[in-house]
Amino acid sequence: MPDVIPIYVHLLRAKDLIDRDYAQQLDVAALAREAHASSAHFARSFKRAFGETPHGYMLRRRIERATELLRGTELSVTEVSLDVGFASLSSFSHAFRALVGESPGAYARRVRAGVPAPIPACFTLMYTRPLGSSSPGQGADRRPG
């Protein structure tokens, strides 16, 4: 059995790049470069290691960051959608609804009316990426932006 640890170490670099630069237009080639992998093998290796495709991971990261902005700022839904890297409001709304289960506007109204939970943001970053359905509706097939 080949040693998978060095592969994970490299793949984690690409995952971290998504976490850091999720709002940029990251393509598979750039992510594969970060992981020192060929584009052909990269997406499959990533999915084997982390349980979802790089694109799926980025989509959920963007939506998680959007929920944070909707919770912690007064930005409009359109502003949030641009901030997290979506080029169109409709693709943002579609992906948000598929993963969170309600529209961004409804989510914002609900959480802004309540008291924020005293949970450090580094843990919400790590633990509140929306799982939604295992495949986020049609949104997964549509590249955001």
Binding site: V9, D16, L125
Partner: protein
């Protein structure tokens, strides 16, 4: 009753590489580097906390069987292990300094309700918060 945490175990993939990262990049100081047979007891102190030791430990026998060691190594390498949070006086300055030394960050310094926080990754895959606390807390 006084009770304080004095040691934190950090699983690392390679002690030599971890030692380089924690001393040369994070600025930790070596506390103890001792060997007994194949076992290496390696601890460092965070730059501003000489009374706390980070134990840089490789998963392995005889504490763990080979399969368990490989599982722990995989978890660390996949980046799911977060041993804790560092506190700094100036998060932006620390971020600039550590980034300049090649430390990988997952998030830039950002205002939170408890202070200004960035998150970083060690060279094995462990993640840490690096937070400058708000004056009020």
């Amino acid at each position: 009753m006084g009770m304080r945490l004095t040691h934190t175990t950090i699983w690392v993939l390679d002690q030599d590489e971890a030692l380089k990262f924690y001393t040369q990049k994070l600025g930790c100081k070596v506390n103890t580097d001792a060997r007994m047979g194949d076992f290496r007891w390696l601890t460092v102190n965070p730059p501003g906390q000489p009374e706390h030791e980070l134990i840089l430990l490789e998963p392995g026998p005889p504490m763990m069987d080979a399969e368990a060691a490989e599982q722990v190594r995989a978890l660390v390498a996949k980046g799911v292990v977060g041993p804790g949070a560092f506190e700094v006086d100036d998060c932006a300055a620390a971020y600039a300094e550590l980034s300049g030394r090649g430390v990988r960050f997952l998030s830039e310094p950002t205002e939170r309700f408890y202070g200004i926080e960035a998150t970083l990754r060690d060279n094995s895959g462990n993640w840490f918060s690096m937070t400058q606390r708000s004056a009020a807390t």
